[in-house]
Amino acid sequence: MAFGVVQIHSAKPNSPSLWQRQIYAMVLGLIVMFVVTKMDYNRIFSIAPHLYGFGVFLLVLVLLFGTEINGNKNWLQIGPVGGQPSELAKVFTLLMLVKYLSSVRVRPLTLRTMAVAGAIWIVPTVLVYLENDTGSTLSFISFFAVLLFLCGLRWSWIATGLAVVVLAGFIAIPKIKASTSYKAERIKAVYWPELAAKRYRYQNEQSYIAVGSGGTYGKGIGSGTQGPLGFVPEVHSDFIFTIAGEETGFLGCSLALGAYLIIIWRLIEAAQKSRDREGTLLVAGYTGLLLYHVAISVGMVVGLLPIMGIPLPLMSHGGSSILATLLALGLCLSVRLRRFVN
């Protein structure tokens, strides 16, 4: 996290309020995490429906009164407090799904169970989709998929699902190539750069140049030239890893990725050792979400995935993301701490 603050500072050295706000959010987040860790997660599950309802309510508010930033209508401002409710909604939806799925102990999953779980899941997902926030919509898929998988989705169904995705991809490819919508352009910029409009290609190339020019050891913290000069857009939030790449090089990036991998590793361990089904599913579901965030926000910076507005957990600027991440980690720690207690 401290690494993140330093990177935000490097990204926008002239905006002190950015990294200061980030620190405030972190302090608040750490307090929330500490409190949640101390609590028994089963108590939190008892209020999961309320949290879920609250999350959906916030998402509706965003659609009605939210402000649009960079084409995504996902920012809600109530008096002095503002944030992206979609970040919190992810965690609340996860809680609700886990609560439901852990009460159903039938393996493999029946159609009925999947329908109920799907209903719980689809409401916030559609709301987020309506905010025009593709990255967040896909992140809802990430933990849903992991939960279904763990709860005993039949292998035949999985195979069918994957086949459908691949098929859909083949059908969509020519359409994407022909389309000039900004989403299509962003996809083209990664996989078929010669077809993409110059301005989209420009963003991607700038990101590769920044990361690539970092080399093995990086240019040193605070001495990046590409990111801070404004060649890369949105460096302090979704493109934060660009700065890390440029300033700390392959070494720093590997360390950062390693740290994420260790977190995910330990989360999976905690999931396996949990005393009950709720704990396992909760931790595993969050692991899926975290994995998704890291994969996308690093993947897009290094040119493996199209650009999507997704924060890198614990590093990107954004109070809501920090808070939601620390809240979820608090829950996971709570599960881990109580693994032996019965």
């Binding site: 301005r199 420009y202 991998l261 692991t287």
Partner: protein
């Protein structure tokens, strides 16, 4: 495989299954991280050199496109200021892997001055200033380039890709000196302004080296309205520094047009009147007394704002500008708002209103002795000897002796109260910068000035070379303090507009507006409206109309108002009046002349002739226009200033009634 809930054995089986699947998730995660790591390795280790070169080359460049400033228009939409496009030659400092550092400046300086028509000294200064500017900001090395110069740059593009021809707007004032002091002028923002946080054009507020901003007048006051949003082009540059391709572009958005309250037709007449002022110095302003909209605004001598906006980078233009600064008549000085002048007899109306309100005289009984008066051991002479006139007559014939005595009856305390009520000694809040406040001719002012003077003497005494000189200076300081007391002489002088009085012509225009409409003091202003548009920061702005501010009322009963108007009407239209020169048949002009004695006898000569004032409004009932004329150092107000107001009223009256223009219109000729 069918399971039964809550069966511990089955729960164990379920747990086993789940852990198995968790292992799959774990390996998926590992796979993803391996792929990400591999890609990072490929980018940062394998292809490091390629990307390092690309970063160094920095093939992308953003080139700003300056926005056109909004136009300034008169109240009917007639043009006062606009922008024309010219070709500038611009030096890019960083292109591809070529960079021009300050070490290269002498070389570039030589190249440019030997091939283009650029003044060597000016370019040297420009490079000096550019040393401190960020490297990505280009330097304009030549404004309004000739076609030969444009061709030279194009022909040498291969050798000097850093030089570029840029189409840019340049401020143009089609009427030259017309209303120059109201419009102001534009110029480049200075280094000091950029660095100073609280300056209007600081870097913090988004201004950058080379930006053209308002430097004076409306151009400065309404810079935020007039400045447009700059555009940009994002281009790729090859390793030789040549622009290869355009990636993206944002067109500039022109600034918002500003409708002023000025009336070009009347302004043109007023400019002619200003041109014929004998000393070449003076001021002339007219406004609508019902709302403070300024119709006419002239200060003499004037300057041509085109000199600043178009020629400031040529030797001739720089010569002209330095002449403006060195001219002892100060053409850049805005006499209308900055000049503090003794207002002379125009103040008698103020004294009259004060005395009538305080009951020193009444509408029915206002007769007071006229003529000279003995004040202690000093005899104050009066130019008038009209016996025992009433207040209307006293205004009409401008009876000095009447006002000496009226002032003494009123007394300093009540007089000072009314000076304050009329707003003298305070800025009006006009919407152009650098307005002066003037000085109130009251006891407190005298005290303050004397104290300052005395202090200065004492300070001199401290450094006096000999004890005798020191003693003398201390004595003088004490004497000044003794004389600081308000005397009858001060009172009599202040009452008829002399003494330690500094009023701006603008204050007198607001004052006569109040006298015309019965006491409502509107703030004179230029803004009629700014059209809707986009501001400098790309935010949409709605249409903006002037909002009244600082408006206050001087208490004046209809009865008192009527007396003042009758006096002013008589001054223009009746026998014995001092301002017959402004009479127009059918348009009841009311006015008051003033002749301010320029005190310094030591500098006697034509330069120190009296200032001629004329304040007026018309018509008598429901006045529509009012104004002030000041002709500096030339003589009597009735002779030198009243006819100038008449010339403007005449055009106004004829236009309003669709009468043919008066070809015989008498212009005041330069003697």
């Amino acid at each position: 495989m069918k399971s039964v809930p809550n069966n511990p054995a089955d729960s164990f089986e379920s747990k086993r299954q789940m852990n198995l699947r968790l292992e799959i998730v774990r390996f998926l995660a590992l796979a993803i991280f391996v792929v990400l790591g591999a890609r990072l390795y490929w980018l940062q280790v394998k292809n490091f050199e390629y990307y390092r070169d690309r970063a160094d080359n920095n093939r992308y460049k953003t080139i700003p496109i300056p926005a056109r400033r909004g136009r300034i228009l008169d109240r009917n939409g007639k043009l006062l200021a606009d922008s024309r496009y010219v070709y500038n030659i611009v030096l890019e400092r960083k292109l591809g892997n070529r960079e021009i550092t300050p070490d290269h400046f002498p070389e570039v300086h030589k190249l440019l001055t030997s091939n283009l028509d650029i003044e060597a000294k000016w370019l040297g200064e420009r490079f000096e200033a550019a040393k401190f500017a960020p490297r990505h900001v280009p330097i304009v090395v030549k404004e309004d380039a000739s076609s030969r110069e444009v061709q030279w740059v194009a022909a040498h593009n291969n050798d000097y890709p850093e030089l570029r021809v840029e189409r840019a707007p340049q401020r143009h004032y089609p009427n030259g000196v017309l209303a120059a002091h109201a419009l102001g002028y534009v110029g480049e923002v200075s280094k000091e302004e950029l660095n100073k946080l609280e300056s209007q054009y600081s870097e913090k507020k988004g201004f950058k080296f080379g930006d053209i901003v308002g430097r004076a007048g409306l151009e400065k006051y309404y810079n935020e309205v007039l400045a447009g949003r700059d555009g940009w082009r994002r281009v790729t540059v090859n390793s030789q520094g040549k622009i290869e391709d355009e990636l993206d572009k944002a067109d500039p958005i022109a600034g918002r047009d500003l409708f002023t309250t000025l009336d070009l037709d009347l302004q043109q007449v007023a400019e002619k009147q200003g041109d014929t002022m004998p000393s070449g110095r003076g001021a002339l302003g007219m406004m609508d007394p019902n709302n403070g909209e300024i119709l006419v605004f002239v200060s003499r001598p004037a300057f041509d704002p085109n000199t600043f906006s178009q020629r400031s980078k040529t030797p001739e233009g720089r010569e002209e500008i330095s002449d403006y600064y060195q001219d002892t008549d100060k053409p850049l000085y805005n006499r209308m708002i900055q000049g503090g002048f003794v207002p002379g007899s125009t103040w008698k109306l103020m004294t009259s209103v004060a005395a009538l309100n305080e009951g020193v005289i009444t509408p029915k009984e206002s007769r007071i002795q006229d003529g000279g008066i003995q004040l202690g051991n000093y005899f104050m002479n009066s130019m008038s000897h009209t016996g025992m006139p009433d207040v209307v007559t006293a205004i009409r014939v401008s009876a000095d002796g009447y006002y000496y005595r009226l002032g003494l009856k009123l007394g300093e305390e009540r007089f000072a109260k009314w000076v304050e009520k009329f707003g003298f000694g305070h800025r009006t809040g006009i919407d152009i910068p650098n307005e002066g406040a003037g000085l109130q001719p009251v006891a407190a002012t005298k005290q303050k000035i004397s104290e300052a003077l005395s202090k200065r003497k004492l300070k001199e005494a401290e450094n006096a070379p000999t004890p005798e000189a020191k003693k003398k200076l201390i004595y003088q300081a004490e004497q000044i303090l003794k004389e600081a007391k308000w005397t009858d002489y001060d009172m009599a002088a202040s009452a008829f507009g002399q003494g330690q009085n500094q009023s701006t012509p603008l204050q007198l225009m607001r004052y006569v507006g109040g006298l015309a409409n019965g006491g409502k003091m509107y703030t004179p202003h230029f803004l009629l409206k700014a059209v809707a548009g986009t501001d400098r920061n790309d935010a949409p702005q709605p249409e903006w109309k002037y909002e009244e501010k600082n408006v206050f009322t001087v208490p004046m009963s209809p009865e008192i108002h009527d007396l003042v108007k009758r006096g002013m009407y008589g001054a223009v239209n009746e026998s014995g009046g001092t301002a017959g020169g402004s009479r127009i048949e059918g348009f009841d002009v009311c006015g008051k002349t003033g002749t301010a004695q320029v005190a310094s006898n030591a500098r006697a000569g034509s330069k120190n002739k009296d200032h001629a004032w004329f304040i007026s409004f018309a018509p008598k009932e429901k006045p529509e226009i009012c104004g002030v004329v000041l002709t500096e150092n030339s003589g009597f107000g009735g002779k030198l200033s009243a006819p100038r107001a008449r010339a403007i009223y005449d055009v106004y009256y004829r236009r309003k009634n669709n009468l043919p223009p008066d070809t015989q219109a008498q212009l005041v000729k330069r003697p």
